[in-house]
């Protein structure tokens, strides 16, 4: 375009781009504004057209009611417990495993790495039934073990992420530290871990989001009501015996979304990095 250097043309172009992007952002954010608004309204706001947003009085009591009347506190704690243990297990197994795969040369190291990677290609739904039967045989259904323990044995994505990260650290650093008398454990803790902090953070954020939002695993493994996670709590709040009104469901949904949104806003940088490494290089 010859007129691309014309400042006036550039301004118009910029404005048009912003217009499209703002419109898109409204479509993305709009439903959440509805959610937040309706969680603060009385019953019957769902039958109003055009919809009214944030019409006073704002009923914060909806939140109190959700928190008190159903066992939402317990569900939140259950979700937090599962998520934190998964994040912890995923991080340490990926860090140790990635270090081993990146730094040690032994027979079959590549075979192990590619076997782990290959599990990413198998659709998760293929594995549900054998895994379920396995946990049933060892009598651990209706506990959090089937959800948490696999993370302590490493996930393909985590191993891949940390191996790539540790591979990029120069070998000379390792050798120099080794000659200076550092033990492998010390090298791992003092050199590799600090340098791999960003990738570990990306992994942790991803695990947090996946497990906090996960519905499938709790759905098949957890049956006792007091062990429900937030997703299950919300799922059963919708129907079944309670028949909760819409505004309470919305308040519960907002409670559930707050932690992920906070984690995302705090760790945006790592999030994007995680997506890009897993996406582009994978």
């Amino acid at each position: 375009m010859n007129n691309a250097n014309d400042p006036k043309w550039g301004l118009i172009q910029k404005a048009a781009v912003h217009l499209v992007l703002i419109l898109g952002a409204l479509i993305m954010i709009g439903p959440f504004v509805f959610t937040l608004s309706s969680s603060l309204q009385g019953p019957g706001m769902f039958q109003k057209l055009p919809p009214e947003l944030f019409k006073p009085p704002l009923l914060f009591s909806n939140y109190v009611q959700v928190w008190r009347d159903i066992d939402f506190f317990r569900y939140t704690m259950n979700s937090l417990l599962i998520t934190c243990l998964c994040v912890f297990g995923g991080a340490i197994s990926a860090a140790f495993g990635g270090f081993g795969l990146a730094r040690y040369r032994f027979k079959g190291v590549n075979a192990i790495f590619f076997a782990a990677l290959a599990t990413m290609m198998i659709p998760a739904n293929m594995l549900v039934i054998p895994q379920y039967i396995m946990w049933q045989k060892v009598g651990l259904l209706d506990t959090y073990v089937p959800i948490i323990v696999p993370y302590f044995f490493g996930t393909a994505f985590g191993l891949f992420l940390m191996r790539q990260c540790f591979k990029s650290i120069s070998n000379e650093l390792y050798e120099a530290a080794f000659i200076d008398g550092c033990s492998p454990v010390a090298i791992f803790a003092k050199i590799y871990l600090p340098l791999g902090k960003a990738s570990l953070a990306a992994l942790a954020v991803f695990t947090f989001m996946n497990e906090w939002n996960d519905m499938y695993k709790p759905l098949i493994y957890i049956t006792t009501k007091s062990k429900y996670t937030l997703t299950l709590g919300l799922l059963y709040m919708r129907g079944g015996e309670y028949q909760f009104s819409q505004q309470l469901l919305m308040a519960a949904a907002v409670i559930m979304m707050i932690p992920v949104v906070i984690v995302y806003l705090c760790a945006q940088k790592y999030f994007v990095q995680g997506i890009v490494t897993s996406g582009i290089k994978g």
């Binding site: 375009m1 910029k14 781009v17 912003h18 992007l21 898109g24 952002a25 479509i27 993305m28 954010i29 439903p31 959440f32 509805f34 959610t35 309706s38 769902f46 039958q47 109003k48 057209l49 055009p50 919809p51 659709p123 739904n125 293929m126 039934i129 054998p130 379920y132 039967i133 049933q136 906090w212 939002n213 519905m215 499938y216 759905l219 098949i220 937030l230 919300l234 799922l235 709040m237 919708r238 129907g239 079944g240 819409q246 469901l249 919305m250 949904a253 907002v254 559930m256 979304m257 992920v260 949104v261 995302y264 806003l265 999030f271 994007v272 997506i275 890009v276 996406g279 582009i280 994978g282």
Partner: protein, 255 residues
């Protein structure tokens, strides 16, 4: 499982392939995947190109487009259930101003309308993710290449079709593969958008592979049937990935 498993040969597979459910699932997944994968990639490309214009506020836009990605399906289904309400939903209300509709969305009896409605929510939820991947791909394209083409007199459109698209094609290819795999494995979107009573019963004609696997194993206790369906679904994924891989050399450009 209350009885020890007994070897029955291919009986489960025959029963799966005879019944109508697997064909409903195949039809629904194909239609769903077709709409979802292509629209999402297309919209993602447009957004990525727009965000790549060095216009400022990229961080703000990225937050806005990414909020649906990080939100749980169950929460999203609650709000879309209301947006999709044929009588009181905001969507029919908004569409009435441009003279479209009204639609019944997920409460329709028409399978295509139901599946398409679910696909729209999935696109809305996933487009931010795709945009971030594509944007990273765009930023990898060297500025010198673009400038050289501009000096040689290539217009914006020509630069886009002759440089941006070929250079971005590996990323687009990956986005398509990832989308196809997630479409075939869809569970949450169908489960939460159709299971509004919380009882877990989804009408057979709206089912997909994963809801069939879930129903057979955990509702009817037919693990064998369920595993057979999983293998059929896997064969479908493998076939599609194989076809996409074959097509790859025709349009994907590697440096």
């Amino acid at each position: 499982m209350y009885n020890p498993p007994v070897f029955i040969g291919l009986k489960n597979y025959i029963e799966v392939l005879k019944g109508p459910n697997i064909w409903y699932a195949l039809r629904n997944v194909s239609f769903y995947g077709f709409i979802y994968v292509f629209s999402q990639t297309f919209i993602g490309c447009i957004l990525a190109v727009l965000l790549n214009q060095k216009i400022g506020f990229i961080k703000t836009y990225r937050i806005a487009y990414f909020i649906p990605v990080i939100s749980p399906w169950i929460g999203i289904s609650l709000i879309w259930y209301w947006l999709y309400n044929p009588q009181y939903g905001a969507l029919n209300y908004i569409l009435s101003f441009i003279g479209v509709g009204p639609f019944n969305y997920t409460s329709s009896n028409n399978w295509a309308e139901v599946v398409a409605s679910i696909a729209v929510v999935t696109i809305w939820k996933g487009v931010g993710y795709v945009t971030v991947i594509l944007l990273a791909g765009l930023q990898n394209i060297s500025v010198e290449l673009m400038e050289a083409a501009e000096i040689d007199g290539a217009g914006a459109l020509k630069r886009f079709t002759k440089i941006t698209i070929p250079m971005l094609s590996p990323t687009i290819f990956m986005v398509l593969i990832l989308g196809t795999m997630s479409a075939i494995q869809a569970f949450d979107p169908f489960f939460v958008m159709l299971n509004t009573s919380g009882t877990g019963v989804i009408p057979d004609r709206f089912s997909v592979f994963n809801t069939l696997i879930y129903d057979n194993a955990f509702k009817y206790n037919r693990f064998g049937m369920s595993a057979a369906i999983a293998w059929v679904a896997f064969a479908f994924v493998a076939l599609l990935t194989f076809i996409q891989k074959k097509m790859e050399s025709r349009w994907v450009h590697y440096e």
